[in-house]
Amino acid sequence: MNIELVINFSYVLSAALFIFGLKMLGSPATAQKGNLVSSAGMFIAVVITLLNQSIIDYQWILIGVIIGAIIGAMAARLVAMTGMPELVAVFNGFGGLASLLVGWAAWYLSGNTSFTIVTIILSVFIGGVTFTGSLIAWAKLSETISGKPYLFSGQRVFNSILLLAIITIGVMFINEPANITYLYTLIALSFLFGIMAVIPIGGADMPVVISLLNSYSGLAACAAGFAINNNILIVAGSLVGATGIILTNIMCKAMNRSLGNVLFSGFGAVSTTLGKIEGEVKPISPEDAYFILEAASNVVIVPGYGMAVAQAQHVVKELQELLEGNDCEVSYAIHPVAGRMPGHMNVLLAEADVPYDQLIEMDDINPRMELMDVAFVIGANDVVNPAARDEENSPIYGMPIINVDYANTVFVLKRSMASGFAGVDNPLFFAENTRMLFGDAKESIGKLIREFN
């Protein structure tokens, strides 16, 4: 009894540490300490759990911990910053699957009252959806499968039937808790549902999906906490659930779309009825671009997913230093959904040692855009598409953008004229003041740097 009391008080302590840790993660000055505080909370929770008298065999725990620690540490050390979205997706998936297994195992260990069965169903369902959903997100991010939305007719009907089937099986399981076949069926259907839920969502909407899956992985832990009657799982899980929802909300706002719209209508489904775009594309050579940049005194760099693909963040930093050496003021304009996860660009530029006070959020940079001599767009497309502002027929109409077209000159670094992930034409490329610098972003910037030297 005494041990139990100690364990539960320690859980209170680790919950407090999680709360402090998350709070500190909200400000750049304290973020790193916050992460340590939260990991201390986790450490306490795990170690104290080992004292639990219902644990009588440590051998399997040890094996599991060693395997997990090795994989986790290797992945965390080896991953390139450009691979962060994939890694976060995979970790989410692991967390979800772990909660599913905890829920499943609870069936063998607990008394299986109706309440327990309901919570087992929830943890298996949320955990399963998180797992396969994250795997699909990972596959889309790593381009193992196409990032395009995958839609077929009757998709909604199919998903509704699937959901109905899950509920039906769930009810049958509650009525007949001893029959584990229901549980197996539930697991399979949840896996299928996770796949179906993420597959219609396009690559450009991935920031929303990743933050939502993050939230789910917390909720799955929360449900598992109900299944095994454990407070700390519920507290920590719901904290994560809430943070995930907040991020999801920020991402949705940045695209001016509702969550339902992101989840249920693939971007590609919108038929484009845009008028023909006037004007022509004007390519520019690195030499000519150099002359314009050399004369510029205000340059704003607008990175997008293309910078991540080309791994161009280090050469961008180099270019920034050369420009600054040339008495030019350089800033970076960061759109909230640039890239494939929340804050993707900030992480990449931080890796390249760009000071974070030079990264300016969309709402702060837009009023200054007219003062900019050059807007330097690297692999961004939809987030700088003026159609979102001007063309009411455009599928992305209403999405807040960075108004690069107001700058004196716009350079667009782009591999080819293919349209962005949303599949929407970009009138920016045809604008009077736009010059296209075709080719791999890293190579193009490399050429510019050589011109400076």
Binding site: L25, A31, A76, A236
Partner: protein, 97 residues
């Protein structure tokens, strides 16, 4: 009654979570996400109880797999978050000097 009490905790923690991080600068979105992702590995606690239960073989197998997955989530999540935040920090000192 147990159910009511647990739901109580759930509701309060969700509200707390919303209040805690209502305003987070964009710079920290990724670390916040991967940091909170590491916290979601708390399911490890449940996995430990199951893997060490020493009874039903199936529960031990499921628990052990779950321990491995959740540990990956926890260790990897905290380490990669720390790695990212170290990059942010380095910059801050650099710009001050």
């Amino acid at each position: 009654m147990e159910a009511v009490y647990l739901t109580f905790i759930l509701v309060l923690s969700i509200f707390l979570g919303f209040e805690l991080i209502a305003k987070v600068p964009a710079t920290l979105h990724t670390p916040l996400m991967s940091g909170s992702n590491a916290i979601s590995g708390i399911t490890l606690v449940g996995a430990l109880l199951s893997a060490g239960s020493g009874g039903e073989t199936m529960a031990i197998i499921l628990g052990t797999c779950s321990v491995a997955l959740a540990t990956t989530n926890v260790v990897g999540g905290y380490m990669v978050t720390n790695r990212m935040l170290a990059m942010f920090k380095k910059k801050k000192e650099g710009s001050k000097s």
